[in-house]
């Protein structure tokens, strides 16, 4: 950046007494709100821009797709999976929401992920960084696999120990097929394995091998054991046939095991597990009622999943909590007795605490009850590590003990994206430690978040977002395994990328070049998202036109 008083700068320059800022521009890349909203801090604007600006960059469609996909997989090896299941906080933050609708980022991510599976593109490696260390991972859920990927792509030898018969964690045994087809998960895990990651299935730590042995075998360990243990309801009548925890039930369904909940199922809870269990039970032909003890706004499940469940005929009974289960003489379930609740003062989580209303019981005939109230890690075999009430407690960038790191649901229930970023951060920190490098910095460190008021929205015509085709509720119930949501078409995908405002980063719109007739902005020969023009201030008139007309908030008054 040229100094305000430097001879090459035109105009009158700056000093403290200046009457106005010299409206002299500087090109300052800022953080986009989508990225700020993403736990993984992915360069969303960057990969969307790569496709949207492909003509300016001289890329073919395929080259642009591949480049964009590599940008995603730099931080997340599961675009196809997350493109389906991520609750996409990025979209919630998208500035375009103030113009028409937020960008369909999730649908675009899925498009690219699916494209890369079909085009069989290998995950990107980082060459020349590895050392001899052999690292071990416990748990082949998204967190453990993310860690494994980040180490393996740098060339480290990685072995993953997984207790179950297949890798994938809750993505496989929790999330049902109609939301995430197993073939998609398989394909993305396979890409990780192709980097040389060994996955030892049916090898549970604490059962088949001890933590101590692994510590000796490996230079470091990463624990991504998730929160597998479903909690019960703690009400009388719970023990006996017809009662499952949500994760148990979904695991059976997802593994294709025979499971018969009968005709009237009550699901207790308001999270993703509850909704998925209810919809899975509905697909088995049962009448399903979800009981949740607070109101709908407090339900932690992904909003549109709740809508989908209701569309499919799931009943929702809010502000109700089970008090006991009554059984028939043969032991089968008969009735669920619940109590009506009302909302009191907010609790620690900020949500209003449900308070029972006396003498307000309601009865529900049931053939099965699914308790999807909460999950917790199964930390048998890991008792020596730092923990707090059964959850791992990490300090120091993800470590839970000497040479042992942890992340994902085992630290607290989260979303897959969160599990993935924790795996990545641990890998980056560990790699830095192994190689004696400075601890990695967040890519957006020091960049200011661009505000919605810095975007000239009128520069862009309003245009509805790309919506995928979806199965009707009838079609869904008729084909229980069929994926509910389709993939946007290529045409939709390309159109959607061009809706991006490119908040805070130059996309080569040429407004500055056009308005600065003095010629301070010169188009570069080699351009890229964020870099289209060089700026020389020799002829600057300090009028500020360029800053005023820059639609993406990239230029600011120096």
């Amino acid at each position: 950046m040229s100094d305000a008083t430097s001879p090459e700068a035109g105009g009158l320059g700056n000093d403290e007494r200046r009457l106005t800022p010299a409206y002299r521009p500087s090109q300052v890349e800022k953080q986009a709100p989508c990225q700020a909203g993403c736990p993984n801090c992915g360069d969303i604007r960057g990969w969307i821009g790569t496709v949207a600006q492909r003509d300016k960059l001289g890329l073919t469609k395929e080259e642009a797709y591949e480049r964009a996909w590599r940008m995603i997989t730099d931080v997340n090896p599961f675009p196809s999976v997350l493109g389906r299941v991520c609750p996409h906080p990025c979209e919630t933050h998208c500035n375009r929401a103030e113009h028409d609708e937020p960008l369909a980022i999730n649908a675009m991510e899925r498009f690219l992920g699916d494209w890369a599976i079909e085009a069989d593109i290998p995950l990107p490696t980082i060459d020349g960084e590895a050392g001899p260390e052999w690292v071990g991972v416990v748990g082949a859920g998204p967190s453990g696999l993310s860690f494994a990927y980040q180490m393996a792509r740098r060339g480290y030898r990685v072995t993953v120990y997984e207790g179950r018969e297949k890798a994938g964690g809750m993505l496989r045994f929790g999330i049902p097929d109609y939301r995430l087809p197993p073939a998609v998960l398989d394909a993305e895990i396979e890409k990780i394995e192709r980097l040389g990651v060994e996955i030892e299935l049916e090898t549970a730590v604490g059962r088949d091998v001890s933590l101590q042995e692994l510590k000796q075998r490996h230079a470091a360990l990463y624990l991504g054991i998730g929160a597998q243990a479903g909690r019960g309801l703690g009400v009388p009548g719970e023990d006996g046939p017809g009662v499952w925890t949500g994760t148990e039930f979904l695991s059976l369904v997802n593994c294709g095991e025979p499971v018969d909940p009968g005709t009237r199922v009550a699901v207790i809870g308001g999270g993703n597990t509850a909704i998925d269990a209810a919809r899975a039970a509905r697909r088995l032909g049962a009448e399903v009622t979800i009981l949740y003890r607070r109101s709908r706004t407090e339900m932690p499940a992904i909003e549109h999943e709740i809508d989908d469940a209701l569309e499919e005929g799931v009943e929702l009974v809010l502000l109700a909590s089970p008090v006991r289960l009554e059984r028939q003489p043969n032991g089968d379930l008969a009735t669920l007795i619940a109590q009506r609740m009302e909302l009191g003062e907010p609790d620690d989580s900020g949500r209003r605490r449900p308070v029972p209303i006396p003498d307000s019981e309601l009865e529900l005939p049931v053939s099965a009850v699914i308790a999807a109230v909460s999950q917790a890690p199964d930390i048998r075999g890991f008792e020596d590590l730092d923990q707090d009430g059964g959850w791992f407690l990490t300090g120091n960038g993800g470590a839970v003990g000497d040479g042992v790191w942890a992340g994902g649901d085992a630290l607290g229930l989260g979303i897959a994206g969160m599990a993935i970023v924790q795996g990545r951060h641990a890998a980056e920190a560990l790699h830095a430690r192994f190689r004696g490098l400075a601890p990695p910095e967040a890519p957006e460190n020091g960049k200011r978040l661009v505000g919605a008021d810095e975007i000239i929205m009128e520069f862009h015509e309003t245009r509805p977002p790309a919506l995928p085709e979806r199965l009707s509720p009838e079609e869904r119930l008729a084909a229980p395994m069929a994926e509910v949501s389709g993939r946007i078409t290529e045409e939709q995908f390309l159109a959607e990328t061009s809706r991006c405002f490119s908040c805070g980063s130059c996309f080569g719109c040429s407004q500055c070049e056009m308005f600065c007739t003095s010629g301070c902005f010169t188009k570069l020969e080699e351009v890229g998202p964020g870099i289209y023009f060089t700026l020389t201030l020799e002829q600057c008139q300090e009028c500020g036109k360029c800053v005023e007309v820059c639609p993406c908030g990239f230029l600011e008054v120096n």
């Binding site: 105009g11 009158l12 000093d15 008139q541 007309v549």
Partner: protein, 464 residues
């Protein structure tokens, strides 16, 4: 004879077909490109189409202008002080260009000349030499009154009404193919024209690119200026400025000229100087004389810029199929740039429509209009030189003050008053101003006042 297209500019210059001169005239369907839609470009398009219509000539006129003058704030503005003489407003009215009050604010009735030795108000000597104020865009950044309409936008509208087409593009180069100019736009798009009129002002790097063109025109000399807008509020402006424009003759090193112009809720400050910088701006604002009439501490500045101003004519502002007008060509020294744009635009349009578009034709019919301006500028330089000498001598400052004050108070022959008036408004050619200073009455009075000024108690200026 045919030539391969897209040859280098220099090459094609030397090999313009010999018979090209034969059709160096506008015909039905000829395409004219106007680079820059400021006053010069719009005047030109307006007159060209009007004159062409009069002789039943059908032309296609494209005005290349990247800016949108409908926008408020700097992005729709072509920075200047915005002072035009009432006589120009009236000439334009006679041409059919009636500037509405949203565009031109009339009624600046006096000048106040400030010097350290005192200030004096000069009333407009005649109604037609009153001045008017305007904004080139839709008013400054942060304007709260929707009072101003862009002058440049208004003129553009007149040109469009006549049939010109505005293309919101930046021209980034000219190629010559078969002796015809091909304009390159910033998105790479290119199109050929029969005539290119350059009206890109001086704040454009485009004019520098023409050095190597067949026209071989060197860009005009320029110097940097400073303009800013104080947001004072309507009442405040009236209180401080009255109905007057305020100019300053101060002995501040490097300061050439400074003026404060009332414009509705704003006061526009314009400054010219040698190597103008922040130091000079502050030296001016901190000067006791300035502080006396315009203390700036409380007044927010909402808009500012430092554009270049034309300091010397383009040599040979024409070639085959190319002509340069307004600031890009020849304009008046320091003032009345808009008036000069009007005159050069009209002369160029008349030449193109009635005479032809070859270098020779422009030389014969267009150049005289330019030469009149540039020779007058030569006289202007002398006058400014003398003023500078006067400015730096307290005795002569007193003399000017005394002479003007007496003229204004006692309704004497307004020798000094009209010299000053004409110098600041640009409503008369420099030659006329110079001639009036040779008037025996002027000289006699000046000598008398100079002598008076040497006595310590000399000044009796009326403080405005």
């Amino acid at each position: 004879m045919r030539f391969p297209s897209q040859r280098s500019v220099a090459d094609s210059f030397s090999s313009i077909p010999l018979d090209a001169g034969a059709d160096l005239a506008l015909k039905d369907g000829s395409r004219v490109a106007v680079i820059g839609g400021g006053p010069a470009g719009s005047f030109f398009s307006y007159f060209l189409l009007k004159m062409a219509e009069a002789i039943d000539l059908e032309l296609e006129v494209d005005i290349f202008e990247p800016r949108f003058f409908t926008r408020g704030g700097p992005s729709g503005c072509n920075h200047c002080g915005g002072i035009v003489s009432e006589s120009l407003v009236q000439i334009l009215a006679a041409e059919g260009i009636n500037l509405p009050t949203e565009v031109v604010q009339r009624g600046i009735e006096s000048y106040v000349v400030h010097m350290d030795v005192g200030s004096v108000a000069i009333q407009s000597p005649a109604k037609e030499s009153r001045i008017a104020a305007l904004y080139r865009g839709n008013g400054p950044r942060d304007g709260s009154e929707l009072q101003w309409e862009s002058f440049d936008g208004y003129l553009q509208g007149m040109a469009v009404e006549r049939g010109a087409r505005v293309r919101h593009k930046l021209v980034t180069g000219v190629d010559w193919t078969d002796g015809k100019p091909v304009l390159i736009e910033n998105d790479g798009h290119a199109s050929a024209y029969d005539l290119v009129t350059v009206s890109a002002g001086v704040n454009s790097n485009f004019i520098g690119m023409l050095k190597d063109s067949p026209a071989g025109v060197a860009p005009p000399k320029t110097t940097r200026t400073y303009i800013c807008e104080f947001k004072v509020g309507r009442e405040g402006v009236h209180e401080i400025m009255g109905n007057a424009m305020h100019v300053f003759l101060l002995s501040i090193p490097r300061l050439e000229f400074a003026a404060l112009i009332p414009k509705g809720e704003f006061v526009t400050m314009v400054m010219l100087g040698d190597e103008l910088d922040q130091e000079l701006v502050h030296a001016f604002l901190d000067d006791p004389t300035v502080r006396r009439c315009f203390p700036t501490d409380e007044k927010p500045v909402v808009c500012s810029c430092s554009p270049l101003i034309n300091m010397g004519a383009t040599k040979r502002p024409y070639g085959d199929r190319i002509v340069m007008i307004g600031d890009s060509g020849v304009t008046r020294l320091y003032k009345d740039g808009i008036g000069a744009s009007y005159r050069t635009a009209k002369a160029a349009a008349a030449t193109a429509v009635y005479q032809g578009i070859s270098a020779d034709t422009f030389e014969e019919h267009y150049w005289p209009a330019c030469k009149a301006i540039s020779s007058d500028n030569a006289i202007g330089k002398v006058i400014f030189g003398v003023t500078t000498l006067f400015k730096h001598s307290k005795i002569s400052r007193r003399a000017i003050l005394r002479m003007t004050s007496l003229e204004q108070e006692q309704e004497k022959a307004p020798h000094m008053s009209s010299v000053l008036w004409n110098m600041f408004t640009g409503s008369a050619p420099y030659k006329e101003i110079f001639t009036s200073t040779l008037h025996p009455g002027f000289i006699g009075s000046l000598v008398w006042n100079l002598a008076h000024g040497m006595r310590p108690s000399g000044g009796n200026g009326k403080v405005a």
